[in-house]
Amino acid sequence: MSENLHSDSLVERYHHLTMRKLLVLVVSVIGVIIVVGLFSVSAYDNISLMEAYRIIWDHIMGVEYEPRTTEWWADRFIWNTVMPRIVAAIVAGASLAAAGALMQALMNNPLADPYSTGISSGACFGAIVALVLGLTITSTSGQSGMIVNAFVGAMIPVGVVILISKRMPLSPAALILVGTALSYFFSSMVTYLLVITDADTLQNAYIWQVGTLDTIVWSSIPMMVVVTAVGSAFVMLLTRQLNVLSLGDANAKTLGLDVEKFRVVCLIVMAIMTASIVCFTGTIGFLGLVAPHLVRILVGSDNKFVVPISMAVGSFILVLADYIAMTISDVPVGVVMSIIGSPIFFLLILWQKKGYGTVY
C-alpha cells in the first residue's frame, strides 16, 4: 500500500516536473513573442500592438504594402532596424545561456560562466585595440575589423587555458583560476588603452565593453545563428556526459568518460559559441550565469532539460533586457543586464536557502 502511494507520489512529481519544464519553455517563448510586439511598437510608435504583429506576419507571408504609407514604412523600419536587434538578442541569449550551462557543468562550479576562461577580456582587448589604435588583424577597418579582432582576441585566453591543461592536468577550479589570471592581464591592457585614448573613443570602447545590440545589422546574424545552432546541437548531444561529469571527475572516469579530453573539446565549443556572439555584441554579462541557475531552480539539474530550457530563458531575458534598454533612452543592453542580473542572482540564492530548488 505504502509502496503504491510512494510510486503514485513519484509519478505525480514526475508529471509535475514535466509540466514545469513545459511551462517554463512556453512562458519563455510567449514572452519573446510579446516583447517582439512591444519592441516594434516602441520603436515605431505610429502603429498599435496588433498592427505590429500583423505587419510582421504579413512580411513573413510576403505581403507588400503601398510604398511610403505608414504600414510600408513600419514594415521596413521593423524589419531593418528592430528585427535584427531582436533576432540577435534571441540568438545571443540562447548561445550565452547554453555556454553558461555547459561551463557550469564542465567546471562543476556554480560561479562559472562563459567568460570564466577570460573570453570576455580577450575579446574586449581585441576590439579595443581596433578602436583605439586602429590595428586590425584583417585588412578591413571599422566595424568588421573590430569584429574579427574581438573574435580572435576571445580565442586567445581559451587557447592558453587549453594549452596549459594539455601540458599539466588541471582541476576545474585551477582552470578557472588560469582564466581569471588571463582576464586580469587583458583587463590591465584594456585599461591602459582606455587611459590613453580620447573621450569619444573611450565612450565607444566602454559601450562595447558593457555590451550593446544597437550596432547589429542583418549581416551580423548569419554567423551568430550558424555557430549557435551547431554549437547548441553539439551541447545537446553531450548532455548525458555532462550529467555524468556532475558526479565529479573521479566518478565520471569510472563510468568511462575521458574527462580531460571531454573538457578540452567542450571548452573549444563553448569558446567558439561565446566568441561568435561577443565579437558582435560586446560582453553582455550575467546572462550565462543567471539563466542556467534560474532553470535549475525551476526544472531540476538534468542537463538534458537545463540546456535547451536555459536557451529559451536566456533568449527571453536578453530580449526583455534589450527592450528595457531601448525604452529607457537607448542605454546599452549590458547595463540593463547588470542592473537586473545581480538582484535576480541574489534572489536565486535566497530561494535556494528557502528550499525552493537548487542553484547548483
Partner: protein, 457 residues
Amino acid sequence: MDLNKNQIIAIGVVAIIIVAAAAILVLNGDDDKKGDAEYGQYSFRLDVYGNANEDLVIDDKDLEIIQDIVDGKATAGDYPLADADKNGAVDSKDKDLVNKIIKGQDCTVQVICLDENGNDVVKAVEFPVKNAVPYGSNMTGVFINAGGVDHCAGYMSKKTSYPEMNSELFNSDAVAIEISRQMTTAGWEQFISLDAALIESTGKGVDAFFVDHSVTALSKSSVYRDDLAAAGIPEIRLAVADPIGDVNAALLIGFLCDDDQGYNYASESIRAFALVEDALSGLDKDDQKTYICETMGCYVCQNDSTFNTMPSYVGGMPYYIVNDEFAALYEGTSSVKMEGPETLSNFDDAEFIWCSNNLDIQTGDYSNTIIAEYEEYASYYETLDNREQRVLINAINPGIIKLAFVASIMYPDLVDEDILQEVFDIVSESSITLDGHTMSEACVAITYEDYVNAKGA
C-alpha cells in the same frame, strides 16, 4: 641587322643616359611642386541638366543652345548639360523640359550631386521641391540662405545648437527632428513618420533629402540610405563644407525650390568673392602660405577632404603639396584624429592651421567664448612651433565670408579690413542666417591674437 660589341655598348650607354636624365627630371620635379601644383580649382554653376551654358540659371539662353543643337548648328558634345532629360539625346523633349523648368511647372529634373564616396552622381528630382528635409549643421545654414525654409517639411538638426543663426528655420512650421551628433534610430523613425504622414494627408511625401557630404553618419549606414532609395526620395549629397560648394549648393537648392533667394545669395556671394580675388591678384606664388586644416578641434583633414579646400581658393598652399611625408600619411577624403601634439610635430612648419568649428551668433562681450573655444583643444597643439598660427573658422557662416577672412588673415596686406567689411556687407545682405547681424557677431574667425586679447580683457 647584326650589331657588333661596340655598337651594343654605345646603345647601352645612350639608354643609361636617357634613363638617368629622365630620373633626374622626375626627381628634380619635386622641388618645383609648389609652382606647378594645381589646387583651388573651382567653378560656380547650377548643377542641373538643362543648364546648357553651365551658368547660374536655366533660362532662354539654354533654350537657344538646345534649339541650336536640335537644328544642327551646335554639337551636343560641347554642351554636356544640354541633354535636360538625360536620355542620351538632345532633342525637342529637352526643349520642352527646359521650357517647363523656366515656367516653374511640375516636372522631373536631373541633378548632379555626390554619392557617398564623393563622386558625381545624377539624381532625378521632382521639380519644384515642396517637402524638403535638410540634414546636418552645415547644410542647415546653406538651406536657409537658399530660401529653402518655405519648402521645408522637416529638418534634422539640434535645435538648441544654433538658435540665432538658424532661427528662420527653427521658427517655421517645419517639423523638428531632434538628433544627436549622429543619426539615431529615433531620429530616423521621426523622419519616416513625417514622410508617411505627408503621403497620407497630401499625397506628396518628402521629395528631397539634402545631406551635407561631410556628415559621415548617413554614408556609413546603409539602412537609412536603403530606405531613401526604396522610397524613391532623392538623397542630394552636397559638399557644403567647401565654400565654393556652399554657393553652388545654395544655387541648386534655390533652383529646386523655385525660389529666387538661392540665386540672389549665390550671385551676391560670387560678386563678393570677385573682390577677394581682385585683391589677391598681386599675390606672388612664392609668397603663398602653406596650411593644414582640422575639423572638430583635433581631426587632421586628409588631402582630399572638403574641409581641406577653403584656404586653397584664396592663395593658400595645401601642406600635402609641399610635404611628401604628410601627403602619404593623409591620403584620403576624410579626417584622422590626432593622438596629441606629436601627430603634427614633424609638420609644424606649415604656416597656418585652420580649424573648423561651429558657433552661433555672438552678442555682447563674448571674450569667454573665445577663450573657451580656443583653449578647448589647445593641448593638441601646445608644443608645436606653429601653435600661434592656429585659427578657428566658424564653419556655419556663409562660404564666401569665410574665404574672405581666411584670405585676410593669410595676406593682410592684400585683403585689408575694408575689403573684408565690404565682402561681409554684400554677402550678409543676401544671407538670411546673418540678416541684421554685424561682422563681429558672426564671429567668423578666432586667431591667437583674438585669444590673447580676450584673455587680457
